[in-house]
């Protein structure tokens, strides 16, 4: 028995060593600029982390093939990714590991806002500039000097999204009088719903007729669908970040033929998995608010992305990371240095309105305020049309006209 265990142990060890040896990355040349990506590459959010990595890889390949960083004599960018796993502890450990093992010029991550909150603390202490797509207000409320948030923060997103949606409804002669809030109590959703519930809806004279919040996993969506059917809201603000929950709610809503338009609050609602599970008809005209999404003029980028990755379309996570890498490149060009402090200062001063970095965010301008928030950052509305999500609002950057609900 013990002998067998010993043999098994040795086997496992051998496999381990072999695996480690096989995937040792080639040593970078001396002048390479290293940037870190700390994102969940394993566990329940692994898919999002992988998407981010795809975006980063694409940007790095473009930069390097176009001659690298000119200010540093054509230095190449290399990516150091660290797996944030599925807990804050792992995410912070990963950040500490990757930032202290070698000289890192800048970092990107870490998708989930609680991960980002922990990871940016490490970056701040080690004085490495950090770019994040996370929405939480608290990320840039701590007086950090090295954290830069390109997405509109949650509190603003809710207000801007409501503005965009009410405008849209008015244009379509379907003014919003009654609204529903349906979603889970994960941080991102809660922070989006809170201002809606507390002041924004009332300020617009919109009555809140359904307010259903649950802790994932959702046991049964029937009651929610019934309430929506009975109250017939003009819009449903929808935040089911857990995929199975979301599928369940959308199926029930269809089953009960709820007519209300569904307005999601986050990029989780526009992943290819939805098409596979629900089919394109069922998704049609469902829309959601995202921090960014491929806009008019980015067709080339999307094409390159889908070709190299095999993904059916490009979404917020890869696009954001793609933009972040390009933004770091811009900052290094301006700082003329790979030193993290110099890059941080360059980012604090940066003001670009063109190039791959700027066009990846709306409006197409990157300038940060003293807290590290992107000035004027506005969310986009993305709508499912024929099994693909398109940017529909604002019209200036829309790739498709909006299809309002009949």
């Amino acid at each position: 028995m013990s002998l067998r265990i010993g043999r098994l142990a040795v086997t496992v060890l051998l496999i381990l060593v072999a695996a480690a040896a096989l995937v040792v990355p080639p040593a970078p040349a001396a002048e390479d600029v290293k940037i870190a990506l700390v994102a969940p590459l394993s566990g329940r959010w692994a898919r999002q982390g992988q998407l981010k990595k795809m975006g980063a890889d694409m940007a790095i390949e473009e930069i390097n093939s176009q001659g690298g960083i000119k200010a540093l004599g054509g230095a190449k960018i290399v990516l150091r990714e660290a797996d944030a796993g599925d807990s804050v502890e792992k995410a912070v450990s990963a950040a500490q590991r990757v930032l202290t093992r070698e000289k890192i010029s800048a970092g990107i991550g870490s998708w989930l806002s609680s991960f980002t909150l922990g990871v940016t603390e490490v970056a701040e202490r080690l004085q490495v500039p950090w770019l994040t797509l996370s929405y939480a207000d608290s990320i840039t409320e701590r007086g950090f000097k090295y954290t830069f948030q390109t997405s509109p923060v949650s509190s603003v997103q809710a207000e801007q999204a409501l503005e965009l949606v009410t405008e849209l409804a008015k244009k379509n002669n379907r003014p919003i009088k009654k609204a529903a809030i349906v979603g889970d109590n994960t941080a991102a959703t809660v922070f989006f719903f809170k201002p809606l519930r507390e002041k924004l809806l009332a300020a617009k004279g919109i009555e809140l007729v359904v307010d259903e919040v649950w802790t994932p996993p959702l046991a049964d969506a029937t009651a929610i669908a019934q309430k929506l059917r009975a109250t017939q809201p003009d819009i449903v603000f929808y935040g089911a970040t857990n995929f199975p929950d979301s599928i369940q709610v959308l199926q029930k809503v269809k089953e009960f033929s709820v007519k209300a338009p569904i307005q999601g609050v986050g990029a989780w609602l526009v992943t290819p998995e939805y098409v596979k599970t629900l089919g394109k008809e069922m998704l049609d005209s469902i829309q959601t608010v995202v921090a960014t999404h491929p806009m008019k003029g980015q067709e080339e980028i999307v094409k390159r992305f889908t070709q190299r990755t095999g993904e059916p379309f490009m979404t917020q996570d890869p696009l954001c990371t793609y933009g972040h890498v390009w933004l770091i490149k811009e900052a290094i060009e301006q700082a003329k240095s790979a030193d993290p402090k110099a890059i941080r200062d360059a980012l604090a001063k940066i003001d670009v309105t063109s190039g791959p970095a700027a066009t990846s965010f709306y409006p197409n301008r990157i300038k940060f305020d003293e807290r590290g928030r992107r000035v004027g950052a506005t969310p986009l509305i993305v709508q499912w049309q024929g099994g693909e999500p398109f940017t529909v609002v604002p019209t200036a950057v829309a790739t498709r006209p909006v299809a309002w609900h009949k």
């Binding site: 142990a9 496992v12 695996a19 566990g43 807990s87 922990g118």
Partner: protein, 589 residues
């Protein structure tokens, strides 16, 4: 005690080694791993107090970890109160929570307790979500970082975590060697026997729960400041916290302070090394390897590494150990004491007890006089053991009163009765198997003695009185039936009882054994202790008892001097049947 000194020395060595590591390590990430080792070891130790020592497996111990984290952070965020003070408040809150959780939950035994504890962290998660504390970040205090536990030097966190670990080790060691520690182990091994030996199991468990909640809260508070920098319900009340705690404790071994320490020292670095080597290159593989390593260890040493190694060392030592020998009683140093007095020590009046449909006792009344030996006899199912269980508080009578030394004691817990001088032994000997013979007896001695040293002396004395003086260091598993019975008697005597209830003390003994036991019981009485004894062996009882009480179908059939009772036709009929009575004319025994 040399073994005590050795333990304290070992703790000092561990702390010194931790200190050296904290000073020697250079890379920031290595310091983080070291801090994690210290913190998870401390968390495992905290859990070990309630689940290892007291045997009450708590699957929800992260509730205190989370309380420590949330209270401290919220005090910083809302009131800008330093976590150094906030931690103290967090501990107070955790202790209060432990009391509130313990009150209803300790009514459940075994696995039901464990399952119930699962609920509390879930409740706290929901409450935190509801309060809007999904993500609470610690504001960065650039002016006075040390005052707000925000060190930029990673060594400071090492030292802080090491301090927490050292304090938890000292606490664990203090509990292990205290009266509470022995009592907890007794409760864990056999709660009923512990109760009968004067241990208030509920209070002991509650004390352990509170003592394990406090360090868990401190660990939670430090963990947030040193490791996470942010608190979310999932990160502190989630399953990962308890699973990590269980992993370090189970791998190392529970019920000892070295277990969680060993477990954390192995599993935390293994997990981090996997993350940093294969994990970054093949994300996800680290979880698989970690799980495989965990399984290998659990297969090879299911009781934990510490116990496994100790067992191996012990086995080598025991090969040289001496074989068992016959028990000989030490010579009597006192002459047999006087006959029973007329003072009534125990007064049983009109006691009734029914178990769903079965009337086990009906209007049983009798007196026990001081210094007598009262035999309780009756056919199987007559209600003898039920009577004992009612007398020492395991069962509550449906009706009737029991007065002991003039005080009404009906409804008291066994531990309360034991403290009042009413001891008992069991039909099937109930030992504390993982405690040595001496420690078994010490549990009894703690009824009247708080200090461990003196309790040890009392226990040693009680063992010599029953002739087991040289078996003190053996474990119950290696004892003969006679030795076990004598040990149980010694344990009972160590509680300094006025009256002992002996439930079939002669069952399963050889003829020689019966003689030894009878002599022993006589000696107990000679020492001034009243004896009530249940016995099947009529012969023995006739030699021993001053009076007999006969029970049949839960009723008192007869009471009186042995010779008189055995001639009573009603008794003979109950024992042997009508036909026997008719044939014999006069009963033989």
């Amino acid at each position: 005690m040399p073994s005590h000194a050795r333990s304290w020395l070992a703790i000092a060595a561990v702390v010194a080694f931790g200190l050296v590591l904290a000073l020697v390590l250079q890379e920031r990430y290595h310091h983080r791993v070291l801090t994690l080792v210290f913190l998870w070891a401390a968390m495992g130790l905290a859990w070990n107090i309630i689940s290892g020592y007291a045997g009450q497996i708590s699957f929800g111990h992260q509730v205190f970890f989370g309380i420590g984290a949330y209270v401290t952070v919220l005090l910083v965020v809302k009131l800008a109160l330093t976590p150094w003070i906030g931690m103290g408040i967090a501990v107070a809150v955790a202790v209060l929570a432990a009391l509130l959780i313990g009150l209803p939950t300790f009514r459940l035994a075994g696995i039901y307790f464990g399952l119930a504890t699962l609920a509390y962290p879930l409740i706290f998660r929901i409450v935190m979500d509801w309060l809007g504390y999904q993500e609470v970040a610690i504001p960065m205090m650039r002016e006075r970082p040390a005052w707000f536990m925000q060190f930029s030097e990673p060594r400071s966190f090492d030292l802080l975590a090491l301090g927490v670990l050292a304090a938890t080790l000292v606490l664990s060691r203090a509990i292990e060697t205290s009266r509470l520690g022995y009592r907890l182990r007794a409760v864990k091994e056999n709660e009923q026997a512990a109760e009968a030996m004067g241990v208030d199991a509920f209070r002991a468990k509650m004390a352990a729960y509170v003592l394990s909640a406090a360090p868990a809260a401190v660990v939670g508070a430090v963990y947030i400041h040193a490791i996470l920098f942010i608190v979310t319900p999932d990160a502190v009340f989630g399953l990962l916290v308890i699973s990590q705690t269980l992993v370090v404790s189970l791998v190392g071994g529970i019920g000892t302070l070295w277990g969680p320490l060993i477990g954390a020292a192995i599993m935390v670095p293994v997990s981090e090394v996997l993350d940093s080597t294969v994990g970054d290159r093949l994300p996800g593989i680290q979880g698989v390897v970690y799980g495989a390593a965990l399984m290998l260890i659990m297969l090879g040493a299911p009781e934990g590494l510490y116990w496994r190694v100790r067992q191996a060392v012990r086995a080598r030592a025991e090969r040289r150990a001496a074989p068992a020998r016959a028990v000989t009683l030490p010579p009597m140093d006192t002459t047999p004491a006087s006959a029973p007095t007329s003072t009534v020590l125990l007064e049983v009046r009109d006691v009734w007890k029914a178990f769903i449909g079965l009337q086990a006792l009906s209007e049983v009344s009798f007196d026990v006089r001081e210094r007598e030996i009262l035999g309780v006899i009756g056919p199987n199912g007559a209600g003898k053991t039920t009577l004992f269980n009612v007398l020492n508080g395991f069962l509550l009578p449906d009706r009737g009163t029991i007065r002991f030394r003039g005080e009404t004691v009906t409804g008291l817990r066994p531990s309360g009765l034991c403290r009042r001088g009413l001891g008992r032994t069991f039909q099937v000997v109930r030992t504390f198997p993982r405690l040595s013979v001496l420690e078994n007896v010490m549990v009894g001695a703690f009824v009247g003695e708080r200090a461990v040293g003196r309790a040890r002396a009392i226990a040693g004395d009680a063992l010599s009185r029953v002739g087991l003086g040289d078996r003190a260091d053996a474990f119950p598993g290696g004892l003969t039936t006679l030795e076990l019975r004598l040990m149980e008697l010694a344990r009972c005597l160590a509680t300094a009882p006025r009256l002992v209830l002996l439930d079939e003390p002669l069952a399963g003994l050889s003829t020689d054994g019966v003689d030894v036991m009878i002599a022993m019981i006589r000696r107990v009485r000679a020492g001034g202790v009243t004896v009530v004894i249940i016995e099947h062996t009529m012969q023995a009882l006739l030699r021993l008892a001053d009076r007999l009480l006969v029970l049949d179908q839960g009723r008192r059939l007869a009471e009186g001097a042995p010779a008189e009772v055995t001639r009573n036709p009603v008794v003979v009929e109950a024992y042997l049947g009508k036909r026997w009575l008719a044939r014999m004319g006069t009963p033989a025994c």
